[in-house]
Amino acid sequence: MSQNTMNLKVKVWRQKNANTVGAFVTYDVASISDEMSFLEMLDILNERLITEGGDPVAFDHDCREGICGMCSLYINGKPHGPWQANTTCQLHMRAFKDGETIVIEPWRANSFPIVKDLTVDRSAFDRIIQAGGYISVNTGNAVDGNSLPIEKQNADDAFAAAMCIGCGACVAACKNSSAMLFLSAKVSHLALLPQGAPERKSRVLNMVAQMDKEGFGSCTNTGACEATCPKEISIANIARLNKEYLGASLSAE
């Protein structure tokens, strides 16, 4: 593999905490290999800032293999950067050209308050799950795994929805800061499986109520969420969510 190196500028959002005003700061980063990941480029910037006695840029990250959902970042105006179906941690510097200026911002949504710099608080997602994103089955209650065959198509569709990593890119991409794609992925995952049937109605009603309470906006079907979702969660899940919600609202007492 041939390695190319480049010199770049990064324009990063710096904000001490939720109560202070933030601003962009531009840094030069030199000798960046195109084989590096995007976060490794930020590591190099931070290493330099620390050595120089500065304050390193705070950003969330953990698994660095695209599955934990911890990394975020709005890169050049797109959540998780320019690549399709990708998380920031899997974005590599091949995506950029020598001399380029890269703009890096945090997720911007009222329901995701800033912790510091590029780190935001996404605990609203956990509270939406608490409102009903589960099947109530205590440990030890289960019957044999093969006692209930599930049509392969339904199982596959449920899996496709369950692939959501809870990163919040859908909210960040949406002009309304709507969490409908996230919510619909969970509702679909559980509604498509027979195990999820008993709580189907209360689940969708309670989860939507919690989403509203958290202050996420409404869905106006722009499709920005689907276009940026690193796991390519389909917007068809939102249609299913609407159907579930309508059905539950009409038949609930």
């Binding site: 290493e47 959902g69 608490q130 030890g140 795994g145 093969n146």
Partner: protein, 657 residues
Amino acid sequence: MLDSKIPAGKLDDKWVDYKGHCKLVNPANKRKMEVIIVGTGLAGASAAAAMGELGYKVKAFCFQDSPRRAHSIAAQGGINAAKNYQNDGDSVFRLFYDTIKGGDYRAREANVHRLAEVSANIIDQCVAQGVPFAREYGGLLSNRSFGGTQVQRTFYAAGQTGQQLLIGAYQALERQVALGNVTMHARHEMLDIVKIDGKARGIIARNLITGELEKHFGHAVLICSGGYGNVFYLSTNAMGSNVTAAWKAHKQGAYFANPCFTQIHPTCIPVSGDHQSKLTLMSESLRNDGRIWVPKNLGETRKANEIPEADRDYYLERRYPAFGNLVPRDVASRAAKERCDAGYGVGTSKQAVYLDYAAAIERYGKIEVSKQGLSNISHEAIVALGKDVVKEKYGNLFDMYAKITGENPYEVPMRIYPAVHYTMGGLWVDYELQTTVPGLYALGEANFSDHGANRLGASALMQGLADGYFVAPYTVGNNLADEIYNAAIPTTHPAFEEAAKKVADRIASLKNINGKQSAESFHKRLGKIIWNECGMSRNATGLKQAIADVQALRKEFWSDVRIPGEINEYNPELDKANRVADFIELGELMCIDALTREESCGGHFREEYQTPEGEALRDDENFMFVSAWENKGDHDWTLHKEELKYDVIKPSQRNYK
């Protein structure tokens, strides 16, 4: 001598008898008992959910922003269970046998048998929670094979099995949060165990957002904080995975067992340069269908696709015809290293071997042709059909490879090399998963108990969930039954104050060093020392040097680390420095353990002890024991041994030929 408290009786009956006779806590008393759980991966989340369901007051802690992020989420391939759905001869005994053999006869029979027994319940529980396992067209669960076994017992959800299982456990956990049985403390790091009258009675945790130190009481404390693979800096672990919680437990009296037993996974994407921050695993499931090879000729310059069959060395198939590409991980890793060290490696670094899917793509293509009743099909069309099948099975892994390397693995063979992946060693626990500190337990990868010197693929998920859902709720309950007369101790107790002060002092002294080098740079240097001398192969000279080097590094760290920012704020660099300090101490113990174990077994390969064919040479006469280390002070450990008795299985040299 260590008492592992293994119940009497026949191996098959031990767990049943234990459950039948262990003490219980009545529901009204459960509501008064507080349980602290540190870590929310498969072990921690499942334990928190299960204990919450039982009615205990649970407090769970994780350093990530949500319990759903724990690194169990990254497990790809699958989870084993002795269901025998495939009618291919699987049974509880075989899963037990394979695990003991795979662990190179350094695991405890009773624990492993229990693991095999509860394996089937795990699948049932997960299906009931809505985990979308892969299914056949008939609607039933699908299985695949994994290394070190000859049956198909691995359940999976594409290449995201860990994610799906963790989301299942996370949802069960969040349900208990909603019901008020579990209080979740995300972005918190445990920084010490509080002991009162010799028992674990709580923890000191740092709120990572505010930097505040918090005191939390628990009648019992469960460490479910995962493994310590990040001691190597480069590993397949998440960036935040750390040994801190387990290490604090160790410093408070919990013995640390077999620290040198670390697993180097054979199929990872090779290192590309000094900037590298982590390594990415390519699931072992790829060895089901892929063939591993290197060129036969030294100095081969042709591209992989241009090298004809006759000039390829499928070295695993050559050396191990019975298991071929599906030999256990330690064997496959060493074989790759052997070829690369001999000069046959590929890629620019020459530290890689090929994992080739061409044969599998063609085979699957032909199956599709006959399935669909097609005739007169061109080779290209067969390959196209085959690619679709491979895409469905392994698509996400292939995509990941393409993103990282910029190469298309459907067209050219992948380049892979071994990387640190899992740690079999961990806190020493007895049959009840209790450490040597009463009231302090360790579950999942954080303990040492089930995988001996080498873990088989798809067994980590199984163990995490077994411990959390099906073992701890009984064994912790058995001990909590004696605690019902003890009311919760207020955190104003002097023991809490002292522990909090100790933690605060340590943080202050770290911060006040005000040196020149970042915590990250020390971590990288530590990783290099440990990888070079205590990695895939080890020898006495190297290990002695490594111990001296790690000691010197520790000194340098404590005199020159620089932590920017303040103590009482969100400060990831401070978190990192705290963790690196612990990794350095652990690194020394790992090398000491590797030095004193004068044999080769599983992932621990001492160059001085090998067979003429270069296979690991075990020494059962002198080393059939668990090394459990007691910390006595700085650089000072005492070795305690737990003899391993094999009543059912007769240890033999592992043979995968």
